[in-house]
């Protein structure tokens, strides 16, 4: 209900304000132009972030100081902590960075956002920035009409900056004119009462505008025009800092638990920083005065002092919170618990495919790779259970003879049901997400995506082949005919060996191990093909098995061959990291089919 009345109420209030005051109209138009500029700027940076920004984010956040540095730098350049926070949540949701790195970036973004206050206080009010806005808008618009994505991005950035400057100009003019009609500073409230009240106003304004940057510019322009007292402006700035977390909270709503934890960390950080600033306001003001004096800033230059205050209290927040990052992570993990990926009916679903990363090709690719690995985990489990083997034993150091002796269950495992519960949804989600992500990808990424889709398809087909194989595997594993029993035991043993090798490939970083195991698996697939190696012919010729058994064995050996080949193909795609050394040379060193045949011929 409040949501339904919020929009009409806002429109009515604005309409009433515009009717009554031309200056209010000018200030509101300034805010609207400023916000539009921010949207345009974000759009521009998104055009460039297709690859570059997400690559930097991925590679430069492995240490806390790097994460904080990245947050400061990216927010200073993009002038939007919201964009950086939402981007970080997306990355976290896609599992590309950890929670502590995410928290580091958000801390840094809080510091980076203070550069906006400096720019506006130092230049925005003292220089006629509207004169810079016009050429920017004109050039920006020309670039916007170009076909090239990069030029379009540049166009968005230029028009964005143009609108930001124009917005500041209108706000400044509006407050200046306001001064002659109404004096808002007459409503200034001293002491803690005023501090809390104006903090709440700052919060509210930021929640409505969804931009602390816009609130801050508004505060600085009002302060410059003397429409708000210095102390109340400080309180408004504190409120803006707390209110800005709403963007991250909204961004996290569509994210997974990690994104929600980061939004909570952002809220905790900003609320704590705000409380510290309120409690120690007079000490911080004294510190600001000292810093201002040190840098020869005039005693009555309150706009620059506000910028110093904004930086000082955010820096204090970061310094105070850094030692508690690990405790904060533990706290968030304890109180915001991961919902099981499986629903009440036991249906597993995608864990990493977050719509918010769709615009960023590197992040989308990272999310799809992780999800495909999730699909692999489930496929491994189903194939192991289909062979009536325990997954834990396959990946253990136990001898394979011991592994195949143990059974997973006494009952017949329903692979079809397992497929519906653990594969179908994830597979469908991967295909759907990939199709949508492809729209923002360059040809190189699309090619990589195609390979990943093939890997998923290979897994699904391997499961289906396991289902076909399972029936006779159960039937002949306890058959009185020792020849057929031995053949099915061999099939089981070879597949268990394959699963073990693929598990090693999936978990190692050693290039030589991966190359050798992949070759070993390829050779073993051909070597154990009983249609080609003459074993089946011998069994039939010597009448060791019946015709019915021979048919079953022939079909099932094809299934086993297909399972092995498909899992091997999948491993080559999924477990050779895109940017690794091995990926660089794999095409040159991997064993070809003709080489496998040559090696086997030599042995014969």
């Amino acid at each position: 209900m409040p949501k339904n009345i919020f929009l009409p109420l806002t429109l009515i209030l604005l309409g009433y304000g515009f009717w009554n005051s031309a200056n209010f109209k000018e200030i509101a138009a300034g805010i609207a132009i400023f916000l539009f500029g921010m949207l345009s700027l974000e759009q521009g940076f998104k055009a460039f972030s297709g690859g570059l920004l997400d690559k930097i984010l991925k590679n430069s956040t492995d240490k806390l100081y790097k994460s904080i540095g990245f947050g400061i730098l990216s927010t200073s350049i993009m002038q939007s902590s919201s964009l950086v926070s939402v981007l970080t949540i997306s990355f976290l949701g896609a599992g590309l960075i950890g929670l502590s790195q995410g928290i580091g970036i958000v801390f840094g973004a809080n510091l980076g956002t203070t550069t906006g206050a400096w720019l506006v206080a130092a230049y925005g009010l003292k220089v006629d920035i509207a004169s810079y806005a016009m050429p920017m808008l004109v050039f920006g618009l020309i670039f916007l009409f170009q076909k090239s994505t990069s030029l379009k991005g540049l166009g968005y950035i230029l028009t964005g900056l143009g609108f930001l400057f124009l917005g500041i100009h209108y706000m400044k003019d509006g407050f200046e004119a306001f001064k002659s009609t109404i004096n808002l500073s007459a409503y200034a409230i001293d002491g803690y009462k005023g501090l809390f009240l104006f903090t709440l106003i700052g919060m509210f304004a930021t929640v409505v505008m969804q931009s602390s940057h816009a609130t801050l510019v508004l505060i600085i322009t009002a302060l410059a025009a003397g429409q708000v007292s210095y102390e109340n402006a400080l309180a408004l700035a504190i409120g803006a800092n707390v209110g800005t977390t709403i963007t991250a909270i909204i961004g996290a709503m569509s994210s997974n638990i990690e994104g929600k934890r980061l939004a909570a960390a952002h809220l905790i950080f900003n609320v704590t920083t705000g409380l510290i600033a309120i409690l120690f306001i007079y000490q911080i003001i004294a510190l600001v005065d000292y810093v201002a004096l040190y840098f020869s800033i005039a005693e009555d230059d309150y706009t620059l002092k506000l910028a110093i205050f904004h930086t000082v209290f955010n820096a204090i927040g970061v310094i105070v919170m850094i030692p508690f990052i690990n405790s904060l992570v533990l706290f968030l993990e304890k109180f915001l618990k991961q919902q099981p990926a499986e629903d009440a009916m036991g249906f597993d679903s995608a864990k990493y495919l977050n719509d918010s990363v769709l615009e960023f090709q590197e992040s989308s690719m990272g999310a799809i790779i992780r999800e495909t690995k999730h699909l692999y985990e489930n496929s491994f489990e189903i194939i192991a259970h289909g062979l009536n083997l325990k997954r834990s034993k396959i990946v253990s150091p136990l001898e394979l003879e011991e592994v195949i002796k143990g059974h997973y269950a006494k009952k017949y495992i329903d692979i079809e049901a397992l497929y519906h519960h653990k594969i179908k949804n994830i597979y469908g989600d991967i295909l759907d997400f990939s199709t949508r992500a492809q729209a923002n990808m360059n040809p190189e990424y699309i090619q990589e995506l195609y390979r990943l889709k093939l890997a998923s398809r290979d897994m699904v087909e391997a499961i289906k082949d396991t289902k076909h194989l399972q029936k006779n595997l159960v039937k002949y594993s306890a058959h009185p005919n020792k020849y057929i029993k031995e053949q099915y035991a061999n099939i089981k043993m070879n597949l268990a060996a394959l699963l073990r090798n693929i598990h090693i490939i999936a978990t190692t970083d050693e290039e030589d191990v991966i190359v050798l195991l992949l070759s070993k698996v390829r050779i073993s697939i051909e070597k154990n093909d009983i249609l080609a190696n003459g074993v089946l012919d011998n069994l039939i010729r010597n009448k060791n098995i019946t015709n019915e058994m021979a048919t079953s064995l022939m079909n099932d050996s094809v299934y086993a061959y297909n399972i092995s080949s498909k899992l091997c193909n999948m491993a080559e795609i999924l477990f050779i990291e895109k940017n690794s050394d091995l990926n660089e040379v794999h095409d040159d060193v991997h064993i070809t089919q003709s080489e496998v045949e040559k090696i086997l011929e030599k042995k014969v």
Binding site: S148, E510, D512, V515, D581, L582, E584, V589, I591, E595
Partner: protein, 82 residues
């Protein structure tokens, strides 16, 4: 001229393609070094194994490692001459 085309022209004019070869060469060298190291350890293992069945398995592995070493060496020569 599009940005991509511009970047490509600059890379071509500065002969930057060589960097790709250099990185590939480096990756190949790393792999070769690891494979050689592996061969030494497998040879040692063979020396201390008396069980014939196990010896056959180790010999197979040795054969495979040697095959990959030869292949990597050949490719490295190709890359060096490119």
């Amino acid at each position: 001229m599009g940005i991509k085309k511009f970047v490509k022209t600059v890379l071509d004019s500065l002969n930057m393609k060589a960097f790709e070869f250099k990185s590939k060469k480096k990756s190949m060298k790393t792999l070769l070094r690891k494979l050689k190291k592996k061969r030494v350890s497998v040879l040692k293992e063979l020396e201390f194994t008396s069980d014939q069945e196990k010896r056959a398995i180790i010999k197979e592995e040795l054969h495979l490692i040697t095959f990959h070493i030869e292949k990597a060496k050949k490719k490295l020569i190709e890359l060096k001459s490119a």
